[in-house]
């Protein structure tokens, strides 16, 4: 078994309104920053032991499917690194 860190990034599907990101963008503008748009995402770092990087990615993907993301509104990406 090898220790890996799985990074799961969860973001709203394209076209789904993100009121918190819009509010954050407006707050940055109030601070005097210029910006065109702002998107937000959640990032989960999961330390786990697995037989291979593929096995770690598969397990992290299941975590995203079942809990970390809501497939109705989210897309997600999994990246695996050796610890």
């Amino acid at each position: 078994m090898t220790p890996y860190t799985a990074t799961v990034e969860v973001r709203l599907k394209h076209g789904v309104l993100d009121p918190e990101a819009e509010t954050t963008g407006r707050a940055l503008e109030r601070l005097g920053f210029e910006l065109e748009d702002l998107r937000a995402a959640d990032l989960f770092e999961v330390d786990l032991d697995a037989e291979s990087a593929d096995a770690a990615a598969e397990r992290a993907g299941e975590m995203a499917e079942r809990l970390l993301a809501n497939p109705t509104i989210h897309d997600y990406e999994v990246a695996i690194e050796d610890q």
Partner: protein
């Protein structure tokens, strides 16, 4: 009919719901989510509140509570299930009902009375109303915006699975009357079968004439 009102850690409309059900003549009991669903439960309410502090997403944690497997099995066998507010979020996260309830367009918690138009009066939850009738119920949520893909929403509408839409006092569905930016102003939907339903507004808070009105009684009478 005894209705089990499931208490998750952070539910806070559970006792109100029991009282409201009893006011329409339906026996109800509280059931802690770590206990088994009672064999005599002939109906289930997933009540409002803030289960697990709304961590991750509202309803996401409670949707994976062990009792939800029993709720799903009971629903599959025809037991009526109603999710209200946080219970609606739990129901969608648990895939009992389609779509998701996510952050309000305002990005704020909103606590106010709204008008709802009855879209389908042939479900157990709406037979007490006429189609097109306008009722008034309170909302109290920060994550109540109904979100779903266009294709799936088209399918829901074609199958008459929208229970209520937000509207003005005359029944007009307008952007101004939509409190949270819900897609097509959807406030409540049914599952694949209409004995399972979820809604963000609180019918249990409008069942006693002394404290506001009885517009919500008809929904709870779906258990009678």
């Amino acid at each position: 009919m005894t209705v089990a009102v499931i208490q998750f850690g952070g539910s806070n409309c559970d006792r109100d719901t029991v009282q409201a059900l009893e006011s329409v003549g339906v026996a109800a009991e509280l059931v802690w989510h770590e206990d088994d669903l009672p064999a005599e439960a002939e109906g289930i309410v997933l009540p409002g509140g803030f289960s697990y502090g709304d961590f991750l997403r509202a309803g996401a944690m409670a949707a994976h509570s062990p009792i939800m497997d029993e709720v799903r099995a009971a629903a599959d066998e025809g037991t009526p299930v109603l999710g209200i507010c946080n219970g609606a979020q739990v129901g969608c996260e648990a895939s009992l009902t389609p779509g998701a309830f996510t952050t309000n367009e305002s990005a704020r918690f909103q606590c106010e009375h709204v008008h709802l138009r009855v879209e389908n009066s042939e479900t157990p939850w709406t037979t007490q109303y006429e189609e097109g009738e306008v009722i008034e119920l309170p909302i109290a949520h920060g994550e109540g915006r109904f979100e779903i893909s266009d294709d799936r929403l088209d399918a829901l509408e074609a199958d008459d699975r929208i229970l209520f839409r937000y509207c003005d006092a005359e029944g007009n569905v307008t952007p101004e009357a939509n409190p949270n930016g819900s897609k097509h102003a959807v406030a409540g939907v049914t599952g694949e079968s209409d004995h399972v339903a979820v809604m963000m507004p609180h019918p249990e808070r409008m069942t006693l004439a002394d404290i506001g009105g009885t517009d919500g009684s008809g929904v709870l009478s779906g258990f009678a």
